[in-house]
Symmetry: C2
Subunit: 500 residues, 2 copies
């Protein structure tokens, strides 16, 4: 086989694998949205087998030796092919370290865990969830030993979501954030509170759903290529390729802004996934490169522009049209203040921009300590509650509003949370860079996202996984990442809103 | 390997294949219910690969020689294992006759056809659909030649839905039906028409949806194991095993009885699928044995008991509760008459019990003639319209209400339609047999389906694919199939309703 033939063969393997990924993503999506309640075991059966089949293809002698050969000849490859080989070889070398039975057992465990977590949250029963969570942590520790024996186990976890991230970098980043945010929060909480009564009332889910589609179209999503579902915990997933993406939301009938910003957040993820270079479909280059970059896009749309005054002014007539009775007598400025109310609270997904990173830090600290065996899974609820009191000054009434609130751990996403804070900070710096060439406020005022999306497409989306997260950022920003863009942005915005 | 080990290996193969079936059913279900509109090609990509993978497993040398060996030793196998070997060996011998590239191309064609048919129906554009339909018929003819060179091609098609069925048997059956139904319809249409105004009005889809779940539970479906979706054309599918089943319906907001009986019909299919012996999960014995038997169950619940007077009396208070304004002043007897109104019409799925089989005969005649090259696909609309005029006396206004109405052909279901008529007739004879030991009317009067379902479970459902359709029927009926049970039932019921 010559080099061209070898690459063709490798692309055929990726295409095959994408069909398994299509099936597994859809089974997961279906389980979270429409599957009947008692069918989790049946799903686990199929997922176990499909992940085994997919694992076998990936790690087959044929594929491994193909990659070894191509890795040896990588100087002769074009940039795209070289990156494909690099990514696949890295992942497969890692995968080969994990015994297949453990790999498959873990996939099955995650399906079961999702079901158990849902029930545990519904019934406020952490002890029900604890044994599977323990097994998830134990598996992650084992996998870390297999795959990255020279790395700290928690660094291994962090790296799966953000290549190059370490505990040390996280500590530094969070400490920079903390030093600016804690005094800001103190100032805000001693200032008079803003009025958010516009957000409260009765907002039927079906009206909110119609509004969700309008929001998706407003930010530039083609709803014929991106679906919307309803789940306990909102998420975004692509189905097999960037040519079919699904977002989900959760409607609270007493507050329409909850789902509104959830849809814009997931919409940001969707835009990133949907706009990979079309030639990347059915290859490992398709979709977002890391969760940090992903969150930079989702939180960019949600907060940096979604919660800006020009966007609130633009979207307010649509809000009024959907909820005419409920919003009578209010203005766009009322909406702006309501969606930027800062108040230490219990639920991360409902947290404001300023306190948000403290929610993330708590999770970071807890999962890191479990991974280093400094904390037992059974002690998570008590530690969670203690840290919420310490960091945010709130009393956690029960585990549903505490340690059971997020789906990440049950999905195996240990090491994921720091991405939210990092992404938020990336986003602020990206916005500052974008403003150099795009009149962002004018775009938002007219509700025309073309120039904003085009900037993101050129600088972030189209690259898929071609660049590492840090290469991508450096390329887009022209300089190194610096979290002060984010803290500056927060200080300025909230000083204005709270008049401090 | 000893015999036990060989059978274990064969069950492992079936388990693997069930995961592919899970994925493919779900991708199809998702495409029909919730997938974004422009994602059909992405689905076709995944389905093409998954069907290829599944085909490769089924027809691998390893599996084929395993089956050959087991076939040679079948006398030593228990009844269950013997049936497994028989079914798999039969299907795989057939499959091996079809070149893999043609098999995969056909799977991809069907995904495309589903999309094209939806668009053609929406825009009343038969010429858009004709080329893919032509390709589907051409493929069926080719497959028939490969797999059953000694059979008439259309008999090959019939056999895929009802083992042992032939054109000759169909002709005989339909002629028996025709001789009794045509005079009955003539009598009914000259009698005064019943009043069906209770069915008409405005019935919001979301209210109908709530009622659908109540209907499902009434007939004994555990809605935690069986989901409900909304599609253009209602259908039932199991997802990987009988442990996860989905039905769909379509709401007409001007007539609640349409979806009501659609849900009961699909509910009958679901009950059959869901109640296979639990040990059959992830084997080829799982689920219904043929479409004829399947329709005997669906049309049993829909018509034989669903449109009976005792059931109408039982369900009427629930109808009133869902639609209090719309049903004010009506009685259960009004509902009974309305859902049994006989009138020659355009749409099969909305047809009454008496004219229903004429709709089936038209489709039977047309597809048979296309399969024998007596009719071209492009001439289907004209012939369709001519036969509707001849058989039912109605003028077809456009192809949406004519040849494009059903999804069967676009799904490759050539040879399927006769099952509906056969199943209806099986059902009537099964009911007569059931009445010997079960007080069916008393069960329906109290809305307690336990004894009815238990009879069906014992005699039909639990057997899965253990027996051939004719063995199963003979076993349940204690005698041969005889369509006069059906025509007797129709004559008696409708003579009473129409006072003729």
């Amino acid at each position: 086989m010559n080099l061209t033939e070898k690459m063709e063969k490798l692309y055929a393997v990726q295409s095959r694998l994408s069909a398994y990924s299509h099936a597994m993503s859809l089974i997961f999506y279906d389980g979270a949205t429409t599957a009947p309640k008692k069918t989790a075991e049946n799903r686990a059966h199929a997922l176990g087998i499909l992940s085994e089949e997919s694992y076998k293809i990936s790690t087959s002698d044929e594929v491994v030796s193909l990659l070894e050969e191509l890795d040896g000849e990588k100087e002769a490859l074009c940039e795209k092919d070289r990156r494909v080989v690099e990514l696949m070889y890295r992942d497969i070398k890692e995968m080969k370290q994990i015994p297949m039975n453990e790999y498959v057992a873990y996939e099955e465990l995650l399906v079961k865990a999702d079901d158990v977590w849902h029930r545990a949250k519904e019934t406020n029963d952490f002890p029900l969830f604890a044994p599977v969570l323990e097994e998830i942590f134990a598996t992650q520790k084992r996998f870390a030993k297999y795959c990255a024996p020279d790395m700290k186990p928690y660094d291994y976890c962090l790296n799966k979501f953000e290549e190059g991230l370490t505990c040390e970098k996280c500590d530094e980043f969070f400490s920079a954030l903390r030093s600016r945010l804690v005094p800001l929060i103190a100032k805000i909480t001693s200032a008079p509170q803003v009025d958010d009564s516009i957000a409260h009332g009765t907002f039927p889910a079906d009206e909110q759903e119609k509004f969700s589609y309008e929001l998706m179209r407003t930010i530039g999503i083609d709803t014929d290529l991106c679906g919307l579902g309803t789940t306990e915990h909102p998420f975004t997933t692509s189905i097999g390729s960037h040519r079919d993406v699904r977002i989900t939301t959760n409607y609270k009938e007493d507050n329409f802004t909850h789902s509104m910003y959830s849809v814009i957040h997931e919409g940001g993820h969707a835009l990133y996934d949907m706009n990979s270079d079309d030639s990347f479909a059915y290859t490992v280059l398709d979709g977002g490169v890391s969760m940090g970059i992903h969150e930079s896009q989702s939180r960019f749309y949600e907060n940096l522009i979604g919660r800006s005054l020009p966007f609130c002014r633009f979207i307010f007539p649509a809000v009024q049209k959907c909820f005419p009775e409920q919003t009578r007598g209010y203005t766009a400025e009322d909406l702006y203040r309501a969606v930027n109310l800062v108040t230490p609270s219990l639920i991360r997904t409902e947290a404001d921009e300023v306190t948000y990173c403290l929610h993330v830090m708590i999770r970071y600290e807890l999962e890191r300590r479990v991974m280093t065996d400094e904390l037992k899974v059974c002690d998570l609820p008590a530690e969670w509650n203690r840290l919420y009191k310490e960091y945010l000054g709130v009393d956690v009434p029960d585990d549903r509003h505490g340690v059971l609130q997020d789906s990440h751990w049950s999905g195996g996403g240990i090491g994921y949370f720091p991405s939210y804070a990092l992404g938020s900070a990336y986003g602020a710096q990206l916005l500052a860079e974008m403003r150099k060439t795009v009149d962002v406020d004018a775009c938002l005022a007219s509700g025309d996202f073309t120039a904003i999306n085009e900037w993101n497409r050129q600088n972030i989306w189209r690259h898929g996984c071609m660049k590492t997260p840090s290469e991508l950022l450096k390329n887009a920003l022209g300089t190194d990442f610096d979290p002060t863009f984010y803290t500056d942005y927060l200080e300025k915005k909230y000083s204005d809103i709270y008049g401090i």
